[in-house]
């Protein structure tokens, strides 16, 4: 198929519509036995007109061995240790470190050291477990928010919320990020627990304790109330992790002074 050079030139040119030639129709046009009418056409989803293109699309999807994460192989670096205080993990690849960091150190409750998969769940946790005002308010109004993003329902008790999660959102009854709060004073930092295989329980069942325990930390490490604090070495974090989240991240490693209660 030969295209005149004007076509390529036109593509490279500026936007604009052609000045239309005058339209002048005769009533005889398309009159019986003829039937042509100029009209736009729609094709619905399952129409066979789409068969060829759909098949090509699925051949592409089935082209199965795609490379993970863009880079053909993970570059190995000299072994390094996670710099978060008390964490003993060693890594030889930055991607492994990234996942470790986000899983265990990113959304950590400064009171009880539990780690959460997202900022959203962490916020809810802090509110419900460590905020005394929450307790007071919840006696008068529905304060327990639904965990599902996009659902704005709130509930009187954590049990009501769980029922909602199970019935409305088809969540499992033992959803691990919705443990009921233990009976304890909200502002007291919980003693940290040594992570070990035993935490998962003899039968492979999750223990009745809390879902996410953080790697053990030396005794006496405490944090100021209300703030999520992260210990971070700026030398170590891949730049992807430092992207503008928290001002603390840019500071070199430091310890936080705490009060004694």
């Amino acid at each position: 198929m030969q295209l005149p050079p004007a076509v390529h030139a036109r593509l490279a040119g500026g936007p604009g519509a052609a000045e239309p030639l005058p339209v002048e129709r005769s009533p005889k046009a398309g009159a019986a036995p003829f039937r042509f009418t100029a009209r736009q056409v729609r094709f619905p989803r399952e129409h066979e007109f789409f068969e060829d293109g759909d098949v090509q699309r699925h051949l592409y999807l089935q082209d199965v061995l795609t490379q993970v994460a863009g880079a053909p192989e993970r570059p190995r670096v000299p072994e390094f240790t996670c710099q978060v205080a008390g964490c003993c993990q060693v890594f030889d690849a930055l991607e492994d470190y990234e996942h470790h960091y986000h899983t265990l150190h990113r959304n950590v409750c400064s009171f009880c050291k539990r780690a959460f998969p997202s900022g959203h769940l962490l916020d809810i946790h802090i509110l419900e477990w460590h905020d005394s005002l929450f307790q007071i308010l919840s006696e008068r109004q529905n304060m327990y928010q639904c965990l599902v993003e996009g659902c704005t329902e709130k509930f009187k008790t954590s049990k009501d919320r769980k029922d909602h999660l199970v019935r409305r959102h088809l969540y499992p009854a033992d959803f691990r990020f919705d443990k009921p709060k233990k009976n304890m004073s909200p502002a007291t930092p919980r003693a940290t627990v040594q992570v070990s295989a035993e935490a998962l329980g003899a039968e492979g069942e999750q223990v009745e304790g809390d879902a996410m325990e953080v790697c053990s930390e030396p005794a006496g490490e405490r944090h100021t109330a209300g703030r999520r604090v992260l210990f971070v070495s700026e030398y170590l974090l891949p730049s992807v992790l430092v992207k503008g989240h928290h001002e603390d991240l840019k500071a070199p490693r430091k310890e936080i002074n705490t009060s004694d209660d």
């Binding site: 295209l3 030639l21 989803r45 061995l65 795609t66 899983t103 492979g204």
Partner: protein, 493 residues
């Protein structure tokens, strides 16, 4: 930006002929599946890197005892690396359908796997997720449905930050989504649409491509028009999708392909296309079409049709909405460059993917049917002859070409003046010799318009043995009346 990630599909010891044969088989299977409305494809994300000196990734069949052993080791091993390796071994086994079956029927196995998925050990989480991903890829429904207990966690993890992990969760979800309506009936109340909408703001290209894949699977579901598309349209997804389709330095091919298909599933369902138009879909897609034509001129990359196809479809369907008159002037597609771009793509299709010619011509029909301006463009850019060059390709293509020519001719004498003298008449004498009734029928329609607005053409027709060409079809039921009418017109001219 136009470079695709290269897939490395090369089973060892496969010659080119073998690959072609397999591809033809897969293609035939897909066609059959589509006709039965069972078109399902899953994307498997597998690490290319050979692991620790073992020769290649061979799927091993594991028995019950071995599976139990690996699970126990993963749960209770003392060293994290050891536990991780146990899961790697399990995963290799799960590449085999038999192991998958054994696994899902083993009591407590999924519960343990989910426990590891939600554990506090990042490495185990990742490996457990990979096992789940293997299971999600299974072609047996029972296996994929066995993964249901994990979905609430997969969705929760979409709000996390670890891009590799999120990517894995998304591909797993995408595979599960397409498996059955039962799975979707669980995922929708679990909040998959808001979770995806939150995730679409990720800066990571790999996450976006995975997200587009998962969303495209969701939108392709049979019940999507009633149950899924309305909530997708009600979320922030449409604006983000269109942003990701805007041409420019940030456009990523893989991401664009996925979201273009998402948009196609939405538009062809005709749920609320007017909304998409108010978000600027027509102009975004029009600009993308221009960009594609430019890329085709530069690289002739055979993968570009993967993006061109859904873009053409969306434009074609959206144009029918705009014509309904609901939207203001500036939203409608008017730029003449679109016609130039389309022809460049048609030329590309002719060489690389002729099966897409009908789709390109469909867009041309929708552009020209009600638009004197676009019809004029066809004439002023000298595109009639290239169009005629497509006639021999196939009957479907011929009918579409003739329809477009009718769109031009029916606008009146000023247009027909440019159609004759010219190569058109000769081509029509050619199409009259086709055996396909529809091709001939459309040729007759075009002749009528031509004779009406350009009577001299009728004389030329006679001189070129037109009557004999018509006679051939005098007995054909669907054509007779029109044949006779034309014979009369020609004789009286």
């Amino acid at each position: 930006m136009w470079l695709r990630r290269q897939g490395c599909l090369r089973p060892a010891g496969c010659g080119v002929e073998e690959l072609r044969r397999r591809r033809r088989e897969r293609e035939a299977a897909l066609r059959k599946a589509r006709r039965e409305q069972q078109l399902i494809s899953k994307r498997l994300l597998r690490d290319d890197a050979p692991e620790e000196g073992e020769g290649g990734c061979v799927a091993v069949i594991l028995g019950q005892a071995e599976i139990q052993q690996f699970l126990q080791l993963a749960q209770r091993g003392t060293e994290e690396k050891e536990r991780g390796r146990a899961l790697v071994s399990l995963r290799r086994g799960l590449q085999h359908p038999e192991t998958q079956q054994t696994f899902i029927w083993l009591e407590g196995s999924m519960r343990t796997l989910v426990g590891l998925l939600t554990s506090n050990q990042a490495l185990l989480q990742l490996e457990a997720a990979r096992c789940l991903h293997e299971l999600s890829h299974s072609e047996q429904s029972a296996v994929a449905e066995a993964c249901l207990p994990a979905t609430s966690y997969l969705l929760t993890y979409l709000s996390g930050h670890s891009s590799d992990f999120i990517e894995l969760c998304l591909y797993t979800l995408g595979n599960l989504i397409v498996e059955s309506e039962a799975v979707r009936r669980q995922l929708l109340p679990q909040g998959i649409v808001p979770a995806l909408a939150a995730c679409v703001q990720s800066p990571h290209v790999t996450v976006l491509e995975a997200l587009g894949y998962a969303l495209s699977q969701l939108l392709q579901a049979k019940e999507a028009p009633e149950k899924i598309i309305p909530s997708v349209l009600g979320s922030t997804l449409p604006q983000h999708m269109l942003q990701l389709l805007q041409p420019g330095p940030k456009l990523n091919f893989g991401v664009a392909v996925e979201f273009a298909w998402c948009l196609h599933y939405i538009t062809c369902s005709q749920v609320n296309n007017a909304l998409l138009i108010t978000h600027g879909a027509l102009s975004t897609l029009g600009l993308l079409l221009l960009d594609l034509a430019g890329a085709v001129q530069r690289t002739e990359d055979a993968g570009l049709e993967l993006l061109a196809c859904p873009v053409l479809r969306c434009l074609s369907n959206l144009l029918t909405e705009a014509a309904v008159g609901a939207v203001g002037e500036q939203m409608q597609l008017r730029d003449e460059r679109v016609v130039a771009a389309l022809f460049i793509l048609l030329q590309f299709f002719l060489q690389k993917q002729p099966s897409l010619l009908p789709e390109g011509l469909w867009l041309l029909n929708n552009l020209t049917a009600n638009s004197p301006s676009f019809c004029t463009s066809l004439l002023s850019l000298d595109l009639i002859e290239p169009l005629l060059q497509l006639l021999p390709v196939s009957n479907v293509v011929s009918v579409l070409v003739l329809t477009v020519l009718c769109n031009v001719a029916e606008k009146g004498p000023a247009y027909c003046q440019h159609l004759w003298p010219g190569p058109l008449l000769c081509s029509l004498l050619g199409t009259l010799a086709f055996s396909d009734t529809e091709v001939v029928g459309q040729s007759l329609e075009l002749l009528q318009l031509l004779f009406l607005y350009r009577p001299e053409a009728a004389q030329a027709f006679l001189q070129q043995s037109g009557l004999q060409a018509l006679e051939r079809h005098e007995k054909e039921a669907q054509l007779q009346d029109r044949v006779h009418a034309l014979q009369q017109t020609a004789l009286h001219s």
